[in-house]
Symmetry: C2
C-alpha cells in the first residue's frame, strides 16, 4: 500500500467519513481538527442542530459500512405538516409510499463517525485542538498551532483534503491564488433554535414522523423530532424589518409574535420567551468557489467547497456524496489521487453551485409556497404523474432527495418542469379536473416537447 | 482642527487623492503603502496600464484643485476607431461635440498625486514599504511589517480608510466578520500588453485622439495613445480554448493569430512575437462586497470596495468619485466621520455593484457589438435622439461617462433603454428611415411610456 501522507483538515461529518473511507483501504490518514474532541464536550443550548438525512447521505454511509449503525438514531419523516395561524394542519407527502427523509442529530452523528474512524487506529489518527494557521502550497507543509498549549508545529502532506467547513482555513489560503473565484453570501435571515420538551409521559407533543412547518411568507418556523421525545424548533427570521430579530426583543414583543403567528406553540414551549431571549441568534450564508483543487494535491470537500443554507436539508448529504464519489473515482482510477483530484474538482463544482441555488429556492418554497393552495395543487398533480409514470416524470424534490441525479442536472430539469407546470396550471377547470387522466397525459406530452 | 488620527491604507490613486482632499482641510493623515515609492522605481515592460479618465474623474480632481496639473498628461479620445480583419476602419463618436474620454498613464497620474499629497507635509505623511499584516478591529490598531527591514510596528487609528486596492488587506480582515458578504470573480479572459513604438518622426503611428479597437467577437485588442508618441495595446484574450493564451504560444502560433486577426498591427509592432512571448499575462477579476464599513471607524474606498474589470474605463473614475462624494458628505455633515462612514457605505455600495455589472456588459459591447452594424445603427439613432432632446434621452454610455448619474440608476435606465430600442430596431424600414423625425419621435414617445 502507498505510503502517501494524507491529511484531512476537519473532523466534522465529511472529514470523519472520508477518513473512514480511506482508512478502510489501508491509507495512513491524519485528521486535524481545530476544536476539542466533541465526544468529551457538552453542546450548548440552542446549538443542537438536526440534519435531514436523505438518499445521498444513506448511500455514502452504506459505502462506509455505517448505515446500520446510524439507523437507530434516525427518525423517518414521511411528509411536511403545515401549521397555520388558526392552528389548522395540512399535509404534503415528500415522496411515494415509504420514501422519507430522516431527522438525525448532527452531534450524535459526528460522534459516531469519529469513533468509527478511530476504530481503525493503525491507519487513522485524529488530532484535536489543532488550528491550521497557514498552508505552504509549494512546500506542501501545514503550519499548525495547538489551541491548548499554543505550541507551533509543521506537518507535511502529499495529499491535503480540506473538509474544514464553511469557514475553511484551507480554502482561505487558496483564495489568495490567482484565478480563484470565491463568494460568501449572507442572506437577510438569521435563525434561532427553540427546544420543545417531551410531554408528561416522556413522549413527543406533536406527531413524530413528519417535518413540521409554520410557513409565514417572509419567514418560517420548522420543527424536527429527536429520539428523546423532544423537538428542535428553528425560527428562520429576518435580521431587520417590521417582523425581525431587531424588532422582537422584549417579552411583550415576543409574546405578540407568538400569539399572532405561532399560537399552537405557546402551550408546547412554555418557556418560549426565555428561550427566545437567551438562545443565540446565528447568521446564514452560502459559499461558492472555483476551482476546488490546487494542482493534484489539495481538494476541498463538503462545506469548505460548497457551504449552503439549510433549507433543502442537503448540506450534509452533498458533503457525504462528495466523499462517496471521490472514493469511487479513486477506486476506478487505481488510487491515482492526483488524477482524481483534478477530475473530481472539475466535475463536481457545478453540482456545488447548483445545490447552493436549490437550497435558496427551497427557502421560498417552505416559508411561502407551502401555504399556497395553487402550489400544493401543482405538487399533487406532479405526484400523480410521477406515480403513473415514475421513470418519465420525477419531481424536482424527489430528484434531489430520493435520487442521485447530479444537482446541476436536477436544477436544470426543475426549471424545465416549472415551464411545463406553468402551462398546466393555467388550464381552465384545472382545480376541478386536476386528477383526470387528461391532465396527466397533458403533462407527459408536454414533457416530451418542452425544452 | 480635530486631532483624530486618520490612517489611509494604500497610496494608489484613490488613497493619494483622499489624502489630498483631507489634508487640505487640516486633518492629520498617515498613508501606509505596501510597495516602495513608485517615483523611485522603474515600471517593468508590459505593465504600463493606461486609464480612460472621464467626467467623474475630472470632477474629483477639480475638487482637489489638481485638474489643471493633470491636463498636460491627458490625451483626449473623441471616438472609437474599429479595425476589421481587412484593415478597414469605422468610427463611433463617444458623445456630442467636444465630449471625450482621456488617456492617462496610471503611473504618471499616481506619481503626480503622491507629490501633491506630500506638498502638504505638515498634515499628510506617506510611509512606504509598510504591509498591513492584521487589523485589530476592537482596539483600532493596525499591525504593520516594514517590507525592507522586516520590523513589526503597531499604529492606532480613529478612522481607517481602506483604499488598498483589489487585494485589500483591510477588506480581507473584514471578510471574517459575521454577515460580511463578499465575492471575487475571475473572468475567462486574461490580458497582455504590447507596446507600439513611435514612427521615425517620433510621432504616433495611428490616429491619436481616438481609442482603437480590434473587435473579434470573443476577444479584442485595444490601443490607447501615450504623450511620447507610443500606443499601449492590450489584448484581452481567453485563457483556454481554440484561440487563447493556452493555444497561442510559439512564434508560429503568434504569427498565425496576427496575420489572420490583426494584420494591420504586424507592421506597426515589429517585435510583436517577442513581446507576446515575454510580456506578462495577467488575470482579470471583479469584487463585490457588503458592507463597505465596520461600525463608524473603517470604510473601504475604490478598488478595495469595488474592483472591476477595465472595459468601461470606470475603475479609477468610480474610485475618485468615492473620494469626492465622501469628502462632500463630510463637509455637509460638519466633519462627523462616524455618521458619514455609515451613511456613505449604505448609499454607495449599490453603485459599486452596478459599475461592476456595467463593466462586464461593456466588454461584450466592445469586443463583439462594435463590429455589428445593427448595434452601430442603434447607437446612431440614440445619438440623434440625444442631440434633439438632450435632457429627455441620455444614452447609457453618456450617463456613465459624461454625467454623474449614480451607476445603479444608470444601469436600471440602460436596461429600460434596451427595451425601448429593441422595439424601435424592429420597425420595418428602420435601416432606411433611421434618421427620420418619425423614428426620433417614436423613441421619445416610447420613452414616456415604457417602464
Amino acid at each position: 500500500m502507498s505510503q502517501k501522507r494524507i491529511v484531512i483538515a476537519g473532523a466534522g461529518l465529511v472529514g470523519s467519513l472520508t477518513a473512514v473511507l480511506l482508512g478502510r483501504k489501508g491509507y495512513k490518514v491524519t485528521v486535524l481538527e481545530r476544536r476539542p474532541d466533541m465526544r468529551a464536550v457538552q453542546i450548548p443550548a440552542g446549538r443542537s442542530i438536526n440534519l435531514a438525512m436523505s438518499d445521498r447521505g444513506w448511500r455514502a454511509l452504506e459505502k462506509a459500512g455505517l448505515a446500520e449503525e446510524v439507523r437507530p438514531i434516525a427518525i423517518p419523516m414521511y411528509k411536511r405538516t403545515m401549521h397555520d395561524e388558526q392552528k389548522n394542519l395540512t399535509y404534503q407527502p415528500y415522496g411515494k409510499d415509504g420514501e422519507a427523509i430522516y431527522s438525525v442529530s448532527r452531534g450524535l452523528l459526528n460522534k459516531l463517525l469519529l469513533s468509527a474512524a478511530e476504530r481503525d487506529k493503525e491507519d487513522v489518527e485524529i488530532l484535536f485542538d489543532k488550528r491550521i494557521t497557514d498552508v505552504d502550497l509549494d512546500a506542501q507543509v501545514l503550519h499548525i498551532r495547538d489551541e491548548e498549549t499554543g505550541q507551533q508545529q509543521e506537518i507535511g502532506y502529499d495529499i491535503l483534503l480540506g473538509a474544514d467547513g464553511a469557514y475553511s482555513a484551507v480554502r482561505n489560503r487558496l483564495m489568495y491564488n490567482d484565478r480563484f473565484s470565491y463568494s460568501q453570501t449572507y442572506i437577510e435571515h438569521g435563525y434561532k433554535e427553540l427546544h420543545m420538551p417531551p410531554g408528561a409521559d416522556g413522549k413527543h407533543l406533536m406527531e413524530v414522523e413528519t417535518l413540521h412547518i409554520w410557513p409565514r411568507g417572509e419567514y418560517m418556523m420548522i420543527a424536527l423530532p429527536n429520539p428523546d421525545g423532544t423537538f428542535t424548533c428553528t425560527l428562520f427570521f429576518p435580521w431587520e424589518g417590521k417582523e425581525s430579530f431587531a424588532s422582537v426583543q422584549t417579552d411583550e414583543e415576543i409574546d405578540a409574535l407568538f400569539r399572532r403567528r405561532f399560537p399552537d406553540l405557546i402551550d408546547l414551549i412554555p418557556d418560549y420567551r426565555e428561550q427566545f431571549r437567551h438562545n443565540p441568534t446565528s447568521s446564514l450564508m452560502y459559499v461558492k468557489c472555483h476551482p476546488w483543487n490546487y494542482k493534484g494535491n489539495i481538494l476541498l470537500l463538503g462545506d469548505a467547497a460548497h457551504a449552503i443554507v439549510p433549507f433543502y436539508g442537503q448540506g450534509m448529504n452533498a458533503g457525504f456524496e462528495d466523499a462517496r464519489i471521490f472514493t469511487e473515482m479513486l477506486e476506478a482510477n487505481d488510487w491515482d489521487f492526483e488524477k482524481v483530484i483534478l477530475a473530481f474538482a472539475e466535475i463536481q463544482y457545478k453540482n456545488g453551485h447548483a445545490v447552493a441555488d436549490l437550497a435558496m429556492r427551497n427557502f421560498v418554497e417552505m416559508r411561502d409556497l407551502t401555504a399556497d393552495p395553487e402550489f400544493l395543487l401543482r405538487k399533487k398533480i406532479e405526484r400523480k404523474v410521477h406515480e403513473k409514470s415514475p421513470s418519465e416524470w420525477v419531481p424536482l424534490y424527489s430528484m434531489v432527495t430520493f435520487r442521485e441525479t447530479g444537482y446541476a442536472e436536477a436544477w436544470a430539469e426543475g426549471l424545465r418542469q416549472d415551464r411545463i407546470m406553468e402551462q398546466v396550471m393555467q388550464l381552465p377547470g384545472i382545480h376541478e379536473n386536476w386528477d383526470s387522466d387528461a391532465v396527466t397525459d397533458l403533462v407527459l406530452s408536454l414533457n416530451k416537447t418542452v425544452k
